[in-house]
């Protein structure tokens, strides 16, 4: 497994602003992912964070709204841009270790947009 931390753990933001969420892993991993979990709902994959290249986005998510960086094998960021109240969700980072298929999740970032 892997130990995953996210910053911030929670935030309250104003409409129209942007927030960058950080994900740090304690060991090098092959794959990193970003998910959104809206209140009372399941997890939806936003994108796969690729090291050294542009992220791969799922249908319904675009780079302009959710820019992602992955500068190395242990760190990634997700930015939620030009936020609206509909962006209020939990944002979760997950990692896959050495193509083992199992994904391990960070604690999440709880975002509230006013």
């Amino acid at each position: 497994s892997a130990v995953i931390s996210q910053k911030p753990s929670r935030d309250i933001c104003q409409r129209g602003t942007s927030l960058t969420i950080q994900c740090q892993v304690d060991s090098q991993v092959t794959m990193m992912f970003w998910y959104r979990q809206q209140p009372g709902q399941s997890l939806t994959l936003i994108a796969t964070a690729n090291q050294g290249s542009e992220a791969t986005y799922e249908s319904g998510f675009v780079i302009d709204k959710f820019p992602i960086s992955r500068p190395n094998l242990t760190f990634s960021t997700l930015t939620v841009s030009n936020m609206s109240p509909e962006d209020s969700s939990i944002y979760l980072c997950s990692v896959e270790v050495a193509r083992a298929d199992t994904q391990y999740f960070g604690p999440g970032t709880r975002l509230t947009v006013l």
Binding site: S1, M31, G40, Q41, S42, L45, L92, D101, Y104, F105
Partner: protein
């Protein structure tokens, strides 16, 4: 892929009873399945997994059953304890050319009554 509902199914059991949580998956090409437990305010925690070449796998107090004929997955928890109260998600993983991709089920809220 899996549909995401707005209302979580619920299961309420007495402490000490056995719990069975069910999940229907949609992709017959999925070859790997995972159960996660998510406690309030936390990220999903890996519980147990199973590959498509198996129909049963046991862990500590948990058993996962896979029926590929009807695309059904279940999680059995023996001697359920109050600490087992959480939302449980199944996830299916189908290998694609770009790497693995998890699709989550809607989740089941398990409540254990003392």
């Amino acid at each position: 892929g899996e549909s995401v509902g707005l209302h979580l199914p619920t299961l309420s059991v007495q402490e000490g009873d056995n719990s069975i949580i069910n999940c229907a998956y949609s992709n017959s090409a999925s070859d790997y399945f995972i159960w996660y437990k998510q406690e309030s305010g936390k990220g999903p925690q890996f519980i147990i997994d199973i590959r498509s070449n198996m129909d049963k796998r046991q862990g500590q107090r948990v058993t996962v059953l896979l029926n590929k004929t009807v695309k059904h997955l279940s999680l059995q928890i023996a001697a359920t304890q109050p600490g087992d109260s959480a939302v449980y998600f199944c996830a299916e993983n189908s290998q694609e050319t770009s790497g693995s991709r998890l699709t989550f089920g809607e989740g089941t809220q398990l409540t254990v009554n003392p």
